[in-house]
Amino acid sequence: MAGHGQLVDEFEVGPVQVRVSHSCARRDVYELSTSPPLSEAAMEWLRGRGVAKVDSPALLIVEVAGVHQLTVAPALGRVVAMPKLATERPEQREAAMAVARALTAS
């Protein structure tokens, strides 16, 4: 089994680079990076996923109930998806892939 912080997968979805790190026995953290800055369309899509805990020009944090938290540094083209404990790893991956596909499309 991978240890905490260990890179367990790395791949690309279009222009989005995805790094998957082992976080704990139940969760992986997904780091999505693309050419900065994120487009306004991408930011609107991300905002629409849930409730924004922080929404400033520098930082967006969106709580997607029962799925994950998305932390977005738009100027750096960076999105971190932190899955909720209740989700299983296949769901975690699918939810992160949906974000990657949306970033690719926008």
């Binding site: 912080g5 704990c24 922080v54 944090i61 932390t71």
Partner: protein
Amino acid sequence: MAIDRDAVVSAVSGLGIAGDEEGMISAFGLYLTRHMSDYYNRISFAAARRMEGSGLEDDVRALLVEAGHVCAFNTFGGIMKSAEWDAVVRPMIETREDWIIGMVAVINAFGWGRWEVQELVAGESLKVRVEDSYEACGWLRDYPTSDSPRCYLACGGVAGLMNLLYVGDITTGPDLTEEYYLQLFRAGKRFEAEELSCLATGAPHCEFVAKRVE
């Protein structure tokens, strides 16, 4: 230095760091919990007091400081790799040393006491003063004035800052694995810290210095 410490504290305080419906705090790329400082203090101090007179006092202290090393590696390291750091602190960073100044500003948003860098010599030493350290305050509330410093976690934290920046290179976003931890905290030229003065001993504040192991 370019870091606006008040701006960092204000920004971190505004991140909405609170437990979710699962009781976890997802912040800085880490899953955090809100921990009762009294609980951590009491188990730490109970272990230390239990060993008094056993000849194992230094071993207990080393273990409790090691917990601080692990905390610094994962928590400070995770923070310095995070999207929040990139958004809030990184735009202010002009020098390598600003990474430590910025991290200390983030620490000051956590309620561990008021940390201030007194002196930072690049690659050589770090001196930090802490006012109202939660460890020392906890000690004084529950026990008589101590004959030795009691801020074990902070001591490990100060060394950890230097190891992350000058033994490893947190600025490059390394994977924070157990192997990397061992590279940083078991290296021959690693930093270790000493608590020079401690509120728990009757000093006016706590002071730490981290230097390379000879």
